[in-house]
């Protein structure tokens, strides 16, 4: 039977009521993707993460049993969306746990002080010019007349203009009585005359700074005339349906020939943010003349539709680390039709523009002080150095501290436990974001839990529960767990499982092992480190002392550690507002030395050593003291 004779059926997703028509035999996950419904899926549809649970209310389907569902789930009609093919019209309910939490994605980036140092010299600027009119004594052509005037305002060797702009030039000049606003953009060594408008529109110049994260996308709307952030907005990266980490997405793209789809998703996310921000602030899209994106190497590849497949295969080489400015429209980004898109340069396949932005924003490249920059995202990247040298590495730390791969883990949003401590009497105290009833635990809360657990002997130094007779420990659906909060207000209980702790331990071990490899390679000890910048999506609050207690950061004085939030965004904004900051970023990217941990002989050993609380070599953590286990 020819393939195109396949029957078509309608899938209805409750409670949204969204419907989609698909071929017989399509999986529910593909159907959900088609209609744009977010179903959590870490493995990208390979059937081993067990996250993409749906309830089929009505209809015929065939599902492959995976053993990832509990017996009571199966009897209640729960299926894995990626393993379930439809054979009739289907009505299915998407559990609430898939809902993307809105709110506190980390959008603040004003904690880095370096950002206000540079004077404003935006990448794309508008200049109002009143030109001398041609006369019998002045035969200079309109085009060259304009160039002469621009040269008075912009330091540049070469100015270039597209034919379309030249074609309309004379008309605009004559109509405006030689009083025009020119938009000029910085393109490498040359300046492009992007547009010519009648009259003075030079005060209406805006730009977007975008933090292109694997999990979240953050946008800031910037008034480039005064150098001020007008508004911010964030959303989840909708590529998440194709895998929660970018390696899964590359595999998905390769296997399904879906890089167009991946590109469209991210471009669409960015466009939606831009529309939200421009509408809310009554800014005309055509007045947005530039967009700066800061993302890891893979995200930048997805956006520009560069071939990312080399990133995941030995010898781990990207298509491009440095991409020249392009027309934003070429990447499907809707701003001014001739507006420019700049992507921060990468260092290597696993150290991207987001880290270069972090190095720029924290000023690590210009300080005398030996500084460590640690950015905990879906990966854990580490930069060490000062104004004379910079080295970096990336560990596949995993997204545990972003709340992924943790039973009740969640992003920093309303209802997330962001602070946790154990009181002297042994009772638990926690605080949620927005003081809401707890629905999960975000990165800072997870960090607190591990640190407090080991300090109070609830887990031993391997991360295993020390005393299984503790009444708060029980056997849950995902193995042994410790109850953090009982069920309340219609929400399930919040617990942390032995597996969660093991994942968090691996994550912190990956980060610290990377730090150790960089330190050992340069024969640097903790005492030599003068400042530590901790960046990332833990939440808005962070107990840096706990990062030492669990052995994620080296044992330095706590006052040397600065939690700096989203440095990827901070760096993107600096570049946007200062042409020389882009040059600095390029010089950082080309001068930073990359250590490939996958081929580093000492990394695995460091990783094993770091898989202990705080570390196998206790002499590295003299300030960390735990209560000895009381059980003898």
């Amino acid at each position: 039977m020819p393939a195109n004779k396949k029957k078509k059926y309608t899938v209805t997703f409750e409670p949204s009521g969204l419907k989609v028509t698909v071929d017989e035999g399509t999986t529910l996950l593909k159907a959900a993707n088609k209609v744009g419904i977010y179903i959590s899926s870490i493995c990208g549809g390979d059937g081993y993460c067990g996250k993409c649970k749906l309830v089929v209310d009505h209809g015929e389907f065939k599902t492959i049993q995976t053993g990832l569902l509990a017996p009571d789930e199966v009897s209640n009609g729960v299926v894995l969306a990626c393993q379930t093919k439809i054979f009739s019209d289907i009505i299915t309910t998407v559990p609430k746990s898939h809902d993307l939490q809105t709110g506190r994605i980390l959008i603040d980036s004003n904690r880095t002080k370096a950002s206000d140092a540079a004077t404003i010299d935006p990448l794309v600027k508008k200049i109002y010019l009143e030109l001398p009119k041609p006369s019998i004594h002045d035969h200079t052509a309109d085009h060259e007349r304009l160039y002469l005037a621009i040269h008075d305002h912009v330091e540049t060797d070469t100015i270039q203009t597209g034919l379309r702009t030249i074609q309309k030039l004379s008309h605009v000049l004559k109509k405006s009585d030689y009083k025009v606003t020119v938009t000029v953009g910085h393109r490498g060594g040359t300046t492009e005359l992007i547009d010519v408008e009648i009259g003075d529109n030079s005060k209406q110049n805006y730009a977007m700074a975008i933090d292109l994260g694997t999990t979240t996308v953050v946008a800031h709307l910037i008034d480039t005339v005064v150098g001020k952030t007008l508004d911010t907005e964030a959303t989840y990266n909708s590529q998440i349906n194709f895998g929660e980490d970018y390696i899964r997405r590359i595999i998905y793209g390769e296997e399904n020939d879906a890089f167009d789809q991946l590109q469209a998703r991210i471009a669409n996310d960015v466009n939606e943010l831009i529309v939200t921000l421009t509408e809310r602030n009554r800014v005309d899209l055509s007045d947005i003349t530039a967009c700066v994106c800061s993302g890891n190497t893979a995200m930048t590849h997805f956006l520009l539709k560069l071939d990312p497949t080399g990133i995941r295969r030995e010898p781990y080489v990207a298509s491009a680390d440095f991409v020249p400015p392009i027309r934003a429209a070429e990447a499907g980004i809707h701003i001014n039709k001739r507006g420019l898109l700049y992507c921060l340069p990468s260092v290597a396949a696993y150290v991207g523009g987001d880290i270069v932005a972090g190095a720029l924003a924290t000023g690590i490249y210009q300080t005398d002080k030996l500084t460590l920059l640690v950015d905990i995202g879906t990966n854990g990247e580490v930069v060490l150095g000062n104004k004379d040298w910079l080295i970096c590495a990336s560990s596949s730390a995993g997204p545990a501290f972003e709340g992924s791969g943790v039973k009740n883990g969640m992003r920093a949003a309303s209802g997330a436990i962001e602070k946790f401590r154990i009181l002297d009497g042994g009772q638990i105290e926690y605080k949620t974001i927005g003081e809401a009833s707890p629905i999960g635990i975000c990165g800072s809360g997870l960090l607190d839990i591990i640190a407090q657990f080991v300090t109070h002997g609830i887990i031993d130094r391997t991360g295993r529960f020390a005393d299984l007779s503790d009444p708060r420990i029980s056997e849950g659906d995902q193995g042994i767990q410790f109850q953090i909060a009982p069920p309340m207000d219609g929400h399930d209980e919040i617990a942390i499982t032995a597996t969660d702790i093991a994942n968090l331990m691996r994550s912190k071990a990956g980060v610290f092992a990377s730090i150790r490899v960089l330190m050992a390679s340069t024969q640097i000890t903790s005492d030599d480190i003068e400042a530590v910048f901790l960046a990332g999506g833990f939440g808005n609050y962070m107990n840096t002392r706990h990062a030492i207690d669990i052995g994620m950061l080296p044992d330095v004085d706590a006052d040397k550690i600065h939690f700096v939030g989203n440095t990827s965004m901070a760096g993107a904004k600096m570049v946007l507002l200062a042409r020389n900051a882009l040059e600095t970023a390029e010089s950082i990217a080309s001068n930073m030395t990359y250590f490939d941990l996958m081929s580093h002989p000492g990394y695995m050993e460091e990783f094993i050593k770091a898989g202990f609380l705080p570390h196998t070599d206790l002499s590295l953590f003299p300030s960390v003291k735990f209560e000895k286990s009381k059980k003898t």
Partner: protein, 319 residues
């Protein structure tokens, strides 16, 4: 020209450990052994200054008659295989064992599933039959060991035995009872120096004294991973010498079991490999001597001829 004597002094040394308690220390042993004390790597420095105590041989006695031992090995114990006390006596009196290691194979759920009472009886019988210090080695099934070994430890209370093994994922029950009964403890790790160190930290976190620990890094026989066992032993010694107190324990190796399960040690009817009766003991002795050079302090062994060869080697090097 004479070769100059190059002496190197290190910050650390291997902890000296005395096993067994005589009557004056509240036990019933007629002899004790003291091991450890090395201040250098094996063969380096002058023996008097840095070699430390002589390594010792602990001969294996099983709580159940072996069913899978090669004929050559079994022939040595055919008369005593069903009687651990007589077996132990033979090892000490005829083969010169410095220690006896009771290996509780028979309590393993898959190898007889004997009870704690059975294990206690074997322990008491062996303690009564011989005067040398005793090591008590579980069946390496965590659940079963956690049931049986506390009873065994209790039965041997006051005798200052060596009890094992505790590992990263199962250390609490045995550490607690060993501490309570005043024995020494063996910490085990799967040929991973970092995990070995982690286990030592975990048990000392429970209040177990570091100076009463003996480490077991896992053993590989000649041709079957000996290089891993050797280099881990060497790394432990180097860490000790560098002053790492969490690694400064004496080390035990299980040479008997590992050597006698390799095909070269037991295969018969291969004349070009030499006499089967010689091959096994040679394999065991060679493995033992190699690991002694890495820094082993106690060697668990099985064949009397291998024991004789290794004792001869120890006496030549350490005396």
């Amino acid at each position: 020209m004479a070769i100059p004597q190059v002496a190197q002094n290190f910050a650390g040394s291997v902890t000296e450990v005395t096993l067994g308690a005589t009557a004056e220390n509240g036990g019933t042993r007629t002899s004790t052994v003291t091991i450890g004390g090395a201040k250098n790597i094996v063969h380096a420095g002058t023996p008097a200054d840095s070699a430390g105590r002589k390594p010792v041989i602990a001969m294996d006695v099983l709580d159940v008659a072996p069913t899978d031992w090669p004929d050559e090995l079994m022939a040595q114990y055919a008369d005593v295989a069903d009687d651990p006390a007589a077996w132990a006596k033979k090892c000490v009196e005829q083969f010169g064992a410095d220690m006896i290691c009771i290996k509780f194979d028979g309590v393993h759920p898959d190898k007889g599933d004997k009870t704690a009472e059975d294990a206690v009886k074997v322990t008491k019988d062996v303690l009564a039959a011989v005067g040398v210090p005793i090591a008590l080695w579980g069946c390496e099934n965590n659940d079963k060991d956690n049931k049986v070994m506390p009873a065994v430890s209790q039965a041997a209370k006051g005798e200052n035995c060596l009890i094992g093994i505790v590992e990263e994922d199962n250390y609490k029950a045995l550490t607690a009872i060993t501490l309570a009964d005043g024995h020494h403890l063996i910490t085990g790790a799967p040929l991973d120096i970092n995990i070995a160190k982690q286990v030592n930290i975990l048990v000392t976190d429970m209040g177990f004294p570091a100076e009463k620990i003996v480490t077991f890094q896992s053993t590989g026989a000649l041709g079957y991973g000996i290089e891993y066992a050797y280099s881990i032993g060497e790394r432990q010694r180097l860490a000790t010498l560098a002053g790492d107190k969490t690694m400064a324990m004496p080390m035990i190796c299980d040479v008997g079991y590992e050597s006698w399960r390799v095909k070269e040690a037991k295969l018969e009817g291969v004349p070009e490999w030499g006499e089967a009766a010689d091959r096994g003991p040679m394999w065991e002795a060679t493995t033992a001597i190699c690991l002694l050079q890495a820094g082993a302090d106690i060697i668990r062994m099985r064949h009397p001829r291998a024991v004789a060869m290794v004792k001869s080697y120890i006496n030549q090097i350490w005396d």
